[in-house]
């Protein structure tokens, strides 16, 4: 059966590797869920329920097998003011609405917008995300005893050095276990997970967010939902691309958008915060051998198992251990290559990348950074294409006719170069514009052609345009003035 074969391929291509990878990933999900619940100002269980529910649902309905989605840093940093000003119930409602927006975006096929996000913007996004994750750890590192610093350093040392000993056991797990034992038996005075708020002690239950269903409420949550939806989709689309590249396989981006939407919609009703795909954890998944839906599913289920069954142990985990894991995720997410490339890449690319990073770190909003990056790369592109414009001219033997050969792209940015390319004061009977190697892109271009022609006419020079390509000719047909009667009478308007 076609669908059965496809199901088998997407779930059971390599169950053993996927199971193990899912377990490894679950260990990297816990610190992010707990850590960013704290950042967002809610109980850790809000993040943990969300991570469970989003991972399981995207495993079922997402479009990119092997990608890990859960409660993320990118979303958590957005909702801080919402939780602070209005409370956690509004966060649940915003998450539900975020899901609705994402599903709509999926149906509107907004994934095609991703093609306007350049490589430099993606690099900037990834780097900004890494910085956000790192910065979010700072509160745990300020105003604390020296023991905390030693523990974080020790944790990082175990994480990076233990794999040299064996790669059979996840080193973040080893770090967490060792640091927990040290903290308990050493009687060290450090924050533990239990100090940060309530952990779940049961499976999540369905609940309707306790908010008034009024227009005021919508006005409060809509701006948050829109940004959350945009950031969630951006990170998910970028992560899907990274997983595509790593596994050399394709994904259904539109289905992924809808899947993210469904996951967030349901998660809001389960008392979870919004989430999206995670770059760091998805890389860990592929690195550990996960590439199907099974590993995503296992990561969610195992996460819940750990929390609900091993909850009494989890509350004793010292925060420095989780900080160490999150610093690892931050380091693994950052594109270190981009720092080296800054000097070799065209300066425009580097500017776009750096501007994206700066705006995100400044506003804590990945969507604004991406918007700025996309706008800037668009401007730089227009600036570059504008250079593809030359005008050569030739005087006829009798000195009465001049032919201007216009080549290149004429559009809004190149109108000044176009108008300035002609000598209107030369006394001639006739001017020929040979535009066979030029393309007129927009009404600004048509307007500037009009202006040049009418300027020549005012000096008593007849103008002829030859060699228009079809697209340009139809633009002129529709929008130009110079070829219509009474053109001169109106020319003052230009």
């Amino acid at each position: 059966m076609t669908s059965f074969a496809a199901l088998k391929r997407e779930w059971l291509a390599n169950p053993r590797a996927d199971l193990l990878a899912g377990i490894v990933v679950a260990l990297a999900l816990i610190p992010e869920a707990i850590g960013f619940s704290i950042i967002a100002g809610v109980d850790p269980r809000v993040g943990l329920y969300a991570s469970f529910s989003i991972a399981v649902i995207t495993a079922l309905v997402g479009g990119r097998p092997g990608m890990i989605s859960a409660a993320t840093a990118a979303i958590a940093v957005l909702v801080v003011p919402l939780v602070r000003d209005h409370g956690v119930e509004y966060l649940f409602a915003a998450t539900v609405l975020m899901g609705v927006i994402q599903i709509t975006a999926g149906f509107l096929r907004l994934d095609i917008l991703m093609q306007y996000v350049s490589r430099s913007v993606i690099t900037g996004f990834v780097n900004a995300l890494a910085i956000l994750i790192f910065v979010a750890q700072l509160p745990q590192l300020i105003d604390v005893t020296w023991v905390t610093y030693v523990m974080v350093a020790g944790g990082l040392a175990i994480i990076y050095l233990f794999p040299h000993l064996t790669k059979a056991v996840p080193s973040p797990l080893v770090a967490i276990v060792i640091l927990t034992i040290v903290a308990i038996y050493g009687g060290l005075n450090v924050n533990t997970v239990g100090d940060m708020g309530k952990l779940p002690d049961s499976l999540p239950v369905f609940l309707i967010p306790n908010i008034p269903l009024t227009l005021d409420t919508l006005q409060i949550i809509l701006p948050y939902s829109l940004t959350m939806a945009a950031v969630g989709l951006l990170e998910s689309m970028m992560t899907a691309q990274i997983v595509d590249d790593l596994t050399d396989s394709g994904s259904n981006k539109r289905r992924e958008m809808k899947g993210q939407g469904i996951a967030n919609f349901v998660t809001g009703f389960l008392g979870g915060m919004g989430g999206c795909a995670m770059i760091g954890q998805s890389v860990i998944n592929v690195k550990s051998g996960g590439s199907t839906r099974l590993s995503t599913m296992v990561s969610g289920l195992f996460l819940l198992f750990l929390i609900v069954v091993l909850g009494p142990l989890v509350v004793q985990i010292p925060m420095p251990a989780l900080v160490a894991v999150m610093i690892m995720v931050s380091i693994g997410t950052f594109s270190w290559r981009s720092i080296r490339d800054i000097r070799h890449h065209p300066w425009q690319s580097s500017v776009v990348m750096v501007v994206t990073v700066v705006i995100v770190v400044w506003t804590h909003d990945l969507a604004q950074g991406v918007l700025a990056g996309v706008l800037l790369s668009g401007l730089f592109f227009a600036g570059k294409v504008k250079q593809l414009f030359t005008v050569e001219s030739e005087l006829s033997g009798d000195g009465n006719t001049r032919t201007y050969r216009v080549a290149g792209q004429v559009f809004f940015a190149s109108t000044d170069s176009f108008t300035g390319a002609f000598d209107y004061k030369e006394v001639l009977d006739r001017v020929v514009f040979d535009v066979s190697a030029a393309h007129f892109w927009d009404i600004s271009a048509i307007g500037t052609l009009d202006k040049a022609i009418l300027k020549f006419r005012r000096e008593g020079t007849a103008v002829e345009v030859i060699g228009l390509n079809d697209a340009s000719a139809s633009m002129i047909e529709l929008y130009a003035v110079h070829d219509k009667p009474a053109a001169e009478a109106q020319s003052g308007a230009h």
């Binding site: 076609t2 059965f4 990933v25 059979a168 790593l246 596994t247 860990i284 592929v286 550990s288 051998g289």
Partner: protein
């Protein structure tokens, strides 16, 4: 309609696919396009690294390492594929194929076959591919996907193939079955071969009429016989072709919707699974 598309892989069915393709090639007077799709193993599951630690340049390093592993495997698979194609080409020529065009491609097996069948008059394929080779009385999942999605007649080679000298038509008075009958009448593939039309069902007027009409639609000089037997189609047909290795079973394929098939199972699939002669499926 330039050729007969023969699809081979490393399974033991390759020899019989070649023999069957050569037979079709002679009958249709068309060359054989011999397709092998390179299957490299994904390196993702080969690394056995459960450290879960990601450090400086983790994404780039992982991409480089996965590429290196898969590149090495791809080289190996390409070499194997070349040997396979060379051996199969010789076998086809020895069996009298009018021409052989070897084709070596990367990509998904099913997708590549469907892409290449556009220029083909018929597709020849083994009953099971390399990934299902030893599951006896089983039909490979890729084969089934090809058969369902294909718009061309698909010849499914059994383990051993001798040039068919007679035809058994599995007839159930459905539209696909009538199309199969029409093809037997007109296609040069079946020219002059005697036809045995077999129907599974109760011995009543309706079935007898259907069978008689089917036989009448063939020209009078075509040697043909009919049989109406009670029982499940797959059992009746299996019995009709048992111990007749020189028979080609022809049938209309997949008359029912995928949903119905999912619930009650498919007669077509069951038949392909149980018979041990080559099968031609007509869409």
């Amino acid at each position: 309609m330039k050729h007969v598309l023969a699809c081979i892989d490393t399974s033991a069915y390759t020899a019989s696919v070649c023999d069957l393709a050569a037979w079709a090639s002679k009958r249709l007077d068309l060359p054989v396009e011999l397709l092998h799709v390179v299957q490299r193993n994904s390196a993702v599951t080969l690394r056995h690294d459960h450290s879960g630690a990601i450090g400086l340049g983790a994404k780039t390093d992982l991409l480089v390492e996965l590429t290196r592993l898969e590149e090495a495997d791809a080289h190996l698979q390409i070499e194997r594929g070349r040997v396979l194609l060379a051996t199969a080409t010789e076998r086809l020529k020895a069996a009298g194929a009018t021409g052989v065009i070897p084709l070596h491609r990367h990509g998904g097996i099913v997708e590549t076959i469907l892409e290449r069948e556009a220029d083909a008059r018929a597709v020849v394929i083994g009953k099971r591919g390399a990934s299902h080779e030893f599951a006896t009385d089983h039909i490979g999942s890729k084969i089934e996907r090809v058969v369902r999605a294909s718009t061309k007649p698909v010849l499914i080679a059994s383990r051993r193939v001798v040039d068919p000298s007679s035809i058994v038509l599995a007839y159930d008075a459905s539209k696909p079955a009538d199309r199969a009958l029409d093809r037997i009448h007109h296609s040069p593939l079946f020219k002059d071969l005697p036809v045995h039309i077999v129907m599974a069902g109760r011995d009543d007027d309706r079935n007898r009429n259907a069978l008689r009409n089917a036989q009448r639609s063939l020209p009078d000089d075509r040697p043909s016989t009919t049989a109406l037997r009670p029982g499940k189609p797959e059992e009746v047909i299996a019995e009709a072709v048992a111990n007749k290795p020189d028979t080609l079973l022809v049938m209309g394929a997949y008359g029912h919707s995928p949903l119905r098939t999912l619930i009650v199972g498919s007669t077509t699939t069951a038949m392909i699974r149980t018979v041990h002669v080559p099968v031609l499926l007509v869409r």
